[in-house]
Symmetry: C3
Subunit: 201 residues, 3 copies
């Protein structure tokens, strides 16, 4: 199993858990929490596959994502009190996940003959749309629209990835550099409380 | 016309009416109510078809769903005062509908070579996603995420359907047993005010 | 470049700007505003393409929509104070846009062998769904569900377009008549403060 698949799996679990936690803060029941956990994990990749015409979408072609998500849901339900204390671990998994999702989205789009700037958009969609659906279903304005340097980290990481690919860098090296860059940008953003400017008059 | 098609049509009408009623409670205008009625009726099946790659999606291939939905909308607009008193009839049609939608979603997914657990997810999506979109457009947290045993009834019904199919049961028998089970579970849940547990600390 | 393409481009820019403005009223950051501007511009056409199975969806096949949208976003960010005073120009572009989107949606659906009433639904989806997603992401009930004769203008325009096509009218003549009709209907509706009735008991 390669690095990207491992990171993809880690991200899928982190997203399923983050969806479930967001739902339980809204006092939703077990089904609501499971539904939102599921959609958070598969939403971004599904939208990418749909826009590209890559159907059936990836997560219904085999059992791996289904099993990972169901295990994450069960884990969250059983160890809820414990998990909500693991913010830093979840943050790490989530960040590894958006790194992997960005790279996978870019690669998938390029394999469909999509131009690089639009492949970046597909990479970004893969990484952020799950969280956008999660927050919309919870009746909140999506978190990433007004807090933190989340999407910016994906865009920077995706740019680094495309640059390294153009320079003929080794695949493994490009992947690990991209993911470490995304992790670094998010850590720096949180440490110095950086956020994107708003439009004002 | 077979039982499943009849139940599918009944469900489509019930969903169109439920969407229209939800929209009118939010003081939306005729177009808003029609839009939400339409989306509630076709949303679940559309998502299933999109994820499977079964396009053009079923409801735009022929005029039957369109005519049924337009008739339901017109009926709701003309007899609004009367319809809101018909809660039990609507409940029955709605429940027959989710039974049919669950079976149709499972069958369609299996015909695309999808594994049984994921076919269940497709059946469940067909049954519940219309209502999720309805409530999201009305700016509410989806009803089925925090009230009643709705999705649970679909999951139980879907499991019964797959079991009966494995046991080689007659198609008609499997269908009617599945739908009656879903109706029974919902009735029992409402009678005894059952609901799924929430996650708590 | 033909009239329809020009109108399509004008509409794409108007929608990107309207999404960005809506997002900035909600105090979203630059990424949130860009995301919503983007989705408002491509949302309707994407849904139409997905439902028809016309994938990869149109806007990721070439760079034209991407460049138009990015330019619109940049323009809005740089000249925000100035743009919010241009309500009438934006209204005109927006109305030209929904006219073009309606015609393009109808034509695309007919080319996929879809029946005319459902092609109308596809035209309407192309025109209004971007705005519906914009308002849902901003956590509002979609504007077009309770204000103004917006969708009604599209339905009337689409009907005129289909009638003229049946009568064998020249393509250019049909397009310009349809768009002028939609503009006229919206102007009249605003001048006389017309809106669709609501359902009441």
């Amino acid at each position: 199993m390669d690095l990207l698949t491992l990171a993809d799996y880690a991200g899928t679990c982190a997203f399923a858990i983050s969806g479930t936690l967001a739902a339980s803060e809204k006092k939703l029941d077990l089904f609501g929490a499971s539904f939102i956990g599921f959609v958070t994990a598969v939403g971004g990749g599904s939208l990418r596959d749909l826009l590209l015409g890559n159907t059936p979408v990836v997560w219904i072609r085999g059992m791996d994502y289904f099993i990972l998500i169901m295990a994450s849901l069960l884990f969250t339900f059983l160890f809820y009190r414990y998990i909500i204390k693991l913010k830093q671990t979840l943050f790490l998994f989530d960040t590894i996940g958006i790194g992997a999702f960005t790279i996978i989205g870019i690669e998938k789009a390029l394999s469909f003959g999509i131009n690089e700037p639009l492949a970046m958009v597909m990479g970004l969609s893969t990484a952020v749309v799950g969280g956008v659906i999660r927050d919309t279903l919870c009746n909140d304005v999506p978190l990433i629209f007004h807090k933190e340097i989340y999407a910016t980290a994906c865009i920077a990481g995706g740019t680094i990835y495309l640059l390294l690919t153009h320079l003929g860098a080794d695949t493994f090296f490009s992947q690990i550099t991209t993911m470490l860059s995304i992790i670094a940008i998010r850590l720096v953003a949180i440490k110095f409380n950086l956020s994107l400017p708003k439009i004002t008059r």
